[in-house]
Amino acid sequence: MNPAYRRHHPKWYRARMPIFWWFRKAAYFRFIARELTSVFVAYSSVLLLVQLRAVAAGPEALARFTAWLHLRPVVALHVVVLLALLFHTVTWLHLAPRAIVIRLGRRRVPDVAVLLGHYGAWLAASGLVVWLLRL
């Protein structure tokens, strides 16, 4: 605040940010949901590391880990994790054109092309993983 104004004004009013500010708008809620679903991204990364550790430990450890994965509560949890991961991935991919500006000569590559490029890369990476699993 400019101190020069203070003499003429008793006080400024500054509104407090409500705790549930993210319910004000659908866009704010989507933002918070996107940020919170990153916890599931971290979880799935840890899960992958644990799976790799089980693979390295031998067939018995892998069988124990696979049996745990087949438990109903774990399957239910992983369905939720999958949905959260899909939401996180899709919302992030849709933000990519905001950050990446590609120019071809004088023309800027349209946002939709950047977005499709990301979806293409996602599909290619998924295809590679499926191919590796089938080996």
Partner: protein, 247 residues
């Protein structure tokens, strides 16, 4: 169409009340009226004590930004017709201290804007006799979208991060820094990088994206910030891998 429309205004009179209160006004409804016309009607015919800023009435000066039905908007560019039957709620811009009624103190923005040197910085200034700094249409096109900013601060009112962390430089300041960074005549990029790379600079932005959604001039400050993050990250990696190459 209604004959009148109710306007509810969040009023704050510091000499009378500790907190803002809502006040209702009935104004005539005209299809061609903007929200600003309704405010001016109240000021001229109903209650002369109402305070608000406005100037050009054509979306250029950026003075009349307010919260209209909870969304940041230029009141001179928001048709009443789109808001009937009402009531239409008008509040001061969110995130800024309120001086009176719909008038906010914008000193914080002005102070931060000066920090990023929003002007053409030259290592050595040429003399007028040496002629102007020339620029091709392509070079102009590179920064033109960011030059459209009218400092209306709707982007600040839409940004929850600015409200949560008042130290954040904010969308318009960073977009305007980018406007000069992308200008082929400018040589102040590194000096601005020092300010923008601080904790309260580009890294405080978590990409809510609403700043770009509400911008009446389609400046896309969110995009500017993300591109700047990318630039800063590339510069950091470059400095790490090739420490002697300079930035």
């Amino acid at each position: 169409m209604p004959q009148t429309v109710t306007i509810e205004i969040r009023r704050y009179r510091p000499e009378e009340e500790a907190e803002p209160t809502w006040q209702r006004y009935e104004v005539p409804f005209w299809r061609e009226w903007m929200v600003l016309d309704a405010l001016n009607y109240i000021k001229d015919h109903v209650d002369g004590t109402l305070s608000f800023r406005w100037s050009c009435r054509m979306g250029v000066c950026g003075s009349c930004g307010m919260m209209v039905n909870g969304n940041p908007a230029l009141t001179c560019a928001t048709y009443l017709e789109t808001l009937v039957p009402g009531p239409v709620q008008v509040e001061p811009l969110r995130g800024f201290p309120v001086i009176r009624d719909l008038v906010c103190d914008l000193t914080d923005f002005i102070t931060k804007l000066q920090r990023v040197q929003p002007w053409i910085v030259r290592e050595t200034e040429g003399t007028p006799a040496q002629g102007e700094y020339r620029q091709t249409p392509d070079e102009l096109a590179a920064y033109r979208p960011y030059a459209m900013c009218i400092n209306c601060l709707l982007c600040y009112a839409a940004c929850p991060i600015y409200e949560l962390e008042p130290g954040f430089l904010g969308p318009a300041v960073i977009a305007l820094a980018q406007r000069y960074n992308l200008d082929s005549r400018d040589q102040g990029r590194e000096a601005r990088m020092d300010v923008l790379s601080e904790h309260d600079g580009i890294w405080a932005c978590t990409l809510v994206g609403e700043c770009s959604t509400v911008c009446p001039k389609h400046v896309d400050p969110a995009g500017a910030i993300q591109r700047y993050k990318l630039d800063a990250a590339v510069a950091w990696v470059k400095a790490l891998v090739l420490p002697r190459s300079g930035r």
